[in-house]
């Protein structure tokens, strides 16, 4: 049973800025859903439409299968968490926390019970009578969350709740946030432009661009099988190469030639966006940095344990352009003879001594290559701004 549903929602600002274009989505009860996309893609507008702070131009918003068009934002019963906290500066922590209960006219006992429980959940009960100025950013956001859940809201709507925290605090806070949402059994929708955050704690991720939903699915699916060049580029790190389909076919693979007389690669048909590209059709192949194997030129593939590799991988000779250890991983940039650059990352440090200009061999598994139809304007399709 979907908790929240949007049907064909459109929203245009000032008659020209398209914030939402035919947005359809269903969010199930108890799911932690992320809205992900570059700034200005319409994710915050989607959030505001769901919470009633904006009215859609047309289309329906359903909560618990009921159209909420005529339901004012204050009556929708959603907890909203803001990027800049919006803690009322002239009220104490306690007054902030119980504001939502107070304006609904609950009795004093309910106020105290729910308010204390909410503050306890986020660990701020000891600060109840202070003014919020005692807190740093994480504390303010804890209060923001307490204030939102104190009303007993079943749906938590969060607009970049971790956006104003510094990177370290953000890392630990996000797991805290997921624990809290799951413990209270809430349905949560969170806007972010930090893909790591979405991948790390989301049940479902919605990727938006220019007011449209591009893809909607669990993190693994978005990572493994992006359906568009934009999502492929937006989530994780990918190499994109232009080429065309070559006639020779081995097994269930395409053979893609990068350019006339250039290197040829096998790409799995299972992972192509269209399974039936014609010979000579222009395509774009994409593969992740971490799926590229890097070998020195004199690597012995006949050593025990390495034999199968030779059958399965595409091997392409290249020259090393640069190699840097960046903490946790080593990052390679390699250059094909034809001039194209390929990036690769390997965990830890690299066991072989190499210097820029050295010949190397790159190995890529056909299953790791996604074949896309060649778009009119590749640079535009993968533009993240």
């Amino acid at each position: 049973m979907p908790d929240i549903e949007l049907r064909g929602v459109n929203k245009i600002f000032k008659g020209k800025v398209i914030a939402m274009e035919d947005v359809n989505l269903k969010i199930k009860h108890g799911e932690y859903v992320f809205l992900l996309g570059p700034s200005g893609c319409g994710k915050t507008t989607t959030l505001r439409v769901i919470s009633g702070l904006e009215q859609p131009d047309n289309g329906e918003v359903l909560i618990d299968n009921k159209d909420v068009k005529d339901l004012l934002p204050e009556d929708r019963g959603m907890g909203f968490v803001f990027q800049h906290f919006e803690i009322f500066p002239f009220m104490t922590v306690w007054e902030n926390c119980i504001y939502g209960l107070k304006v609904r006219g609950f009795s004093d006992e309910v106020l105290i019970e729910h308010g204390e429980r909410a503050l306890k959940t986020v660990g701020l009960l000891d600060y109840a009578d202070e003014y919020p100025t005692v807190f740093g950013n994480p504390g303010l956001q804890r209060l923001g969350i307490a204030r939102a859940i104190a009303t007993g809201a079943k749906i938590l709507v969060m607009d970049e709740p971790l956006g104003s925290l510094d990177p370290k605090a953000r890392l630990s806070f996000r797991h805290e946030l997921r624990d809290l949402v799951k413990r209270l059994g809430l349905t949560a929708i969170q806007v972010t432009h930090d893909q790591d955050e979405a991948l790390a704690i989301g049940d479902q991720i919605i990727v938006m661009r220019q007011g449209r939903i591009l893809q909607y699915g669990p993190p693994e699916e978005l990572y493994e099988r992006p359906t568009s060049l934009f999502v492929a580029n937006f989530i994780g790190e990918m190499n994109f190469l232009e080429g065309f389909i070559y006639p020779n076919v081995l097994g269930n693979n395409y053979l893609v030639r990068l350019e006339i007389r250039g290197p040829k690669l096998y790409a799995s048909k299972d992972h192509a966006i269209f399974p039936d590209f014609a010979v000579d059709q222009r395509v774009v192949i994409a593969f992740r940095f971490e799926d590229v194997y890097v070998y020195p030129q004199n690597f012995d593939f006949n050593k025990p344990g390495h034999e199968r590799m030779e059958e399965e991988l595409n091997f392409i000779p290249a020259n090393l352009y640069s190699m840097r250890f960046v903490g946790k991983t080593t990052r390679f940039i390699a250059k094909f003879a034809s001039g194209e650059m390929i990036q690769a990352t390997k965990p830890g440090t690299f066991p072989y001594q190499l210097s820029p200009g050295d010949p190397i061999i790159l190995g890529i598994h056909p299953h790791d290559i996604i074949t896309f139809e060649h778009p009119k304007d590749l640079a535009y399709e993968i533009d993240l701004s």
């Binding site: 702070l53 004012l72 204050e74 019963g77 907890g79 504001y99």
Partner: protein, 562 residues
């Protein structure tokens, strides 16, 4: 090839470098601050000392006159009280009808919003004496609303009710404007937060918006109250025999009863200074609004139907009452009159010639005044924002607000006592004394917008210019000036418009020079209605043009990394 012509700029930059040295800065700081102390504080201080010095004269005139006893004092008490309740009532009514309008203009999006916004500002451009005249014609004569009902006389005769109507109309744009500015500067996100927590509109306004805008609203209300208290031009026209405090000052001045006039001016100035001090120090501590919440009642009153009704009422009252009354004068000129307008203007007393010289006087006085406040006011704005003198800055900041708060007639009279024959004896009543008074009361209109734009502007740009090797003054000319020029222009237009529309301060220092607002008062008093209306229309149309330019230069625009 790129070419740069920089022969004389090199010299200019060298001069600027020399003048940027600290000792010159101290010199200009001294001159600028000294100027404003002389122009604003001097007269006020002087009026207090005059009262002390000529205490016995006042005693015998006001409290112990051989013929009338303390009649003077009784009159003063009555008119002060009157001025107070009229200003109080007018401001109260304006807040009630103006607050919904301010909310409508800041928190709602609808078609024609810009247009409505401009219409609300329009009465601001109408000089008060023309406004008073318009009210008199509309409500108090057979040409106005009474004519529609076929009556031979106006609805109300000149007196307290007409004064109240005039004051409501004339303070309305001030109230709406100041409420609008505070509401605009208050981020809407707090309201959103409260809404998502389940608070209905009315509760949000009362518990969230209220505390956030409290200080600004109180300041705006007190300033509007002070302006209403000191209003002269419009009041003279609609007052009939009913006198308010500023009118009595004008009368005493005309009758040359200087000590008594000084005494009344002092009381008015004292009260207004106390109000100003109140804004600065106490508005923060007002315990409004009440924290208690009445969920059912407020939820009921927040229903969309009430919101809609409130919006419609706000616009309706504004259009039907304020806008039509203020603009009525524009239609009056085209109504047939007896004697015909042309005959009246070409009559034996040369009204044409008077109209023309007064118009020129108004423009000349406005122009010179604006020039002076611009040259002295811009450096003053920088001193207030940039110097780190702590207490002194706050003091200077309050100093430039003083002319906003005190009645212009009282300020005018104080200036006359200081610079004119009773005091330093530097200026005779006439052209230059008028300019001097106008400089005093227009200076805040010049300095305030400049201060706010300096505060908003990006300091980093100036730092960048300094690190690239430009001296202080070169940075000012090449970087700061282009950024703040719209603020300066806005301030200059406001100062010019205020100077153009001022009556009270001009009357007490004018000698035999006439400006248009004073001419309107004169002609209404001598029943030359057609000519007065024509003079009003000319000055109103001119003020409209100024207002349009003002709206154009101060329209919001995109700023890089603001």
């Amino acid at each position: 090839m790129r070419q740069e012509k920089n022969r004389w700029t090199t010299k200019l930059i060298a001069v600027e470098k020399e003048l940027s040295k600290p000792r010159y800065r101290k010199l200009t700081d001294g001159i600028v601050i000294g100027f404003f102390i002389f122009v604003i504080i001097g007269p006020i201080f002087n009026i207090f000392s005059t009262v002390v010095v000529s205490y016995w004269e006042i005693q015998s005139n006001v409290f112990n006159d051989p013929l009338t006893g303390d009649l003077q004092w009784q009159i003063m008490g009555t008119v002060l009280l009157r001025s107070f309740w009229i200003a109080g009532l007018a401001v109260l009514i304006d807040v009630i009808i103006g607050l919904p309008m301010a909310i409508l203009l800041t928190r709602f999006e609808f078609r024609g919003k810009q247009f409505l916004d401009a219409m609300v500002d329009l009465p601001l451009a109408v000089p008060t004496s023309a406004l008073g005249f318009s009210v008199l014609l509309f409500w108090g004569s057979r040409f106005g609303i009474a004519g529609l009902f076929g009556l031979d006389v106006g609805f109300f005769s000149a007196g307290p009710l007409l004064i109240l109507i005039t004051h409501i109309i004339f303070t309305y744009p001030f109230i709406v404007r100041s409420l609008k500015i505070v509401l605009q500067e208050t981020p809407k996100v707090y309201e959103d937060a409260a809404t998502t927590l389940g608070a209905p509109g009315l509760t949000v306004f009362r518990t969230i918006t209220g505390p956030l805008v409290k200080e600004g609203v109180i300041a705006g209300i007190i300033l509007a109250f002070a302006r209403s208290l000191g209003e002269t031009g419009a009041t003279i026209i609609v007052a009939g025999m009913y006198e308010t405090a500023p009118i009595v000052i004008v009368k005493l001045r005309r009758a040359l009863e200087l000590p008594a006039a000084a005494f009344l001016s002092m009381i008015l100035i004292g009260i207004c200074l106390a109000l100003l001090a109140g804004i600065k120090f106490f508005s923060r501590r007002v315990g409004f609004p009440i924290k208690k919440i009445w969920p059912t009642g407020e939820r009921f009153l927040s229903k969309p139907i009430f919101r809609k009704t409130r919006n419609i009422l706000a616009v309706g009252i504004f259009l039907a009452f304020i806008f039509i009354t203020a603009m009525f004068i524009l239609t009056y000129v085209f109504q047939p009159q007896d004697p015909p307008l042309w005959a009246e203007l070409n009559g034996g007393d040369l009204k044409w010639a008077y109209l023309w010289t007064s118009l020129m006087n108004s423009f000349l006085i406005g122009g010179i005044t604006t020039l002076i406040v611009m040259v002295m006011g811009v450096p003053m704005a920088f001193i207030i924002v940039n110097r780190k003198w702590k207490k002194v800055n706050t003091l200077l900041d309050t100093l430039i607000d003083i002319p906003l708060a005190i009645p212009s007639a009282a300020l005018g009279f104080a200036t006359f006592m200081f610079w004119g024959s009773p005091g330093l004896d530097l200026f005779f009543p006439g052209f230059w004394l008028i300019v001097w008074v106008h400089v005093a009361f227009t200076s805040p209109y010049m300095i305030r917008p400049v201060i706010s734009i300096i505060k908003k502007s990006n300091k980093g740009l100036e730092d960048a210019s300094r690190t690239l090797g430009a001296s202080n003054l070169t940075t000012f000319r090449r970087i700061t000036l282009p950024i703040i020029k719209n603020g300066i222009l806005a301030g200059a237009i406001m100062a010019f418009a205020r100077s153009l529309g001022e009556t009270g301060a001009t009357i007490v220092v004018m000698g035999d020079i006439r400006t248009i607002p004073v001419l309107i008062v004169d002609w209404v008093e001598t029943q030359a209605m057609g000519s007065a209306a024509l003079a009003s229309v000319i000055i109103i149309l001119f003020a409209f043009v100024l207002l349009l330019i003002l709206r154009y230069v101060s329209r919001p625009r995109r700023v890089l990394n603001a």
